[in-house]
């Protein structure tokens, strides 16, 4: 799949209510190692690894969007 298609599928333009609530239950169970990746800090635009937070302390990660 090319990146443009992947972007359009992930960022759906119409909400249809097909979220994977049941899949979530077995996706990353308690006790798993938290997967690491990079994201950009909004304030500075700098890339930061999620693991930089859990190296320093416990961390509560909330996911979401404006809408």
């Amino acid at each position: 799949m090319d990146e443009e298609t992947e972007i359009e599928i992930y960022n759906y333009s119409e909400f249809v209510g097909s979220e994977e609530f049941m899949t979530f239950r077995t996706h990353l169970p308690v006790g798993s190692s938290a997967p690491d990746c990079e994201a950009k800090l909004l304030e500075t635009g700098q890339p930061v690894k999620l693991s930089e937070y859990w190296k320093k302390s416990d961390v509560l990660i909330e996911f979401g969007s404006f809408t």
């Binding site: 333009s13 990079e38 937070y53 416990d58 961390v59 404006f66 809408t67």
Partner: protein, 167 residues
Amino acid sequence: MAREFASKGVNFIFVYTREAHPGENYPAHRSFEQKLDHARAFKGEFKVERPLLVDDLTGTAHKLYGSLPNMTYLISRGGKVLFRADWTDPPTIEYTINYVLDSRARRREGLRLAPFYAEFAGYRWNDPAKFQEGLARAGQQAVDDFSRAMEKRLKQPLRPGRIELSE
């Protein structure tokens, strides 16, 4: 809550994902700049003080953690999942973090503690008026799409795995 727990060694971060309910005002992201703009608007509207991390345009972080629109994870120092919920509910988060901190304190006091695994059915406060307000902010399309999705859902059996309070 983030400020209170920061002094107890638990930091809070927010990961900005795709738009759950895209509409005319906040449509689906097609560029990273646009995603940053939406994240800025979100931060301004809700006065988010926590570090706000913007996931990439293909949702790499979001997919790694299960792709749900409003989920929460508590990760231990060292990187183990201690708690996860398919919806962000502040009272549940507060309860859980206090539970973890209390358990550690009891162990420090010399109490012998063995780990075990638990799950529970959660119940969160639901405010439909506030939710509709959010949809309207996104645009009329978000309102219409949601109402269509709910009509469809009403014709189907209850979502599997849903546990009613009366059960």
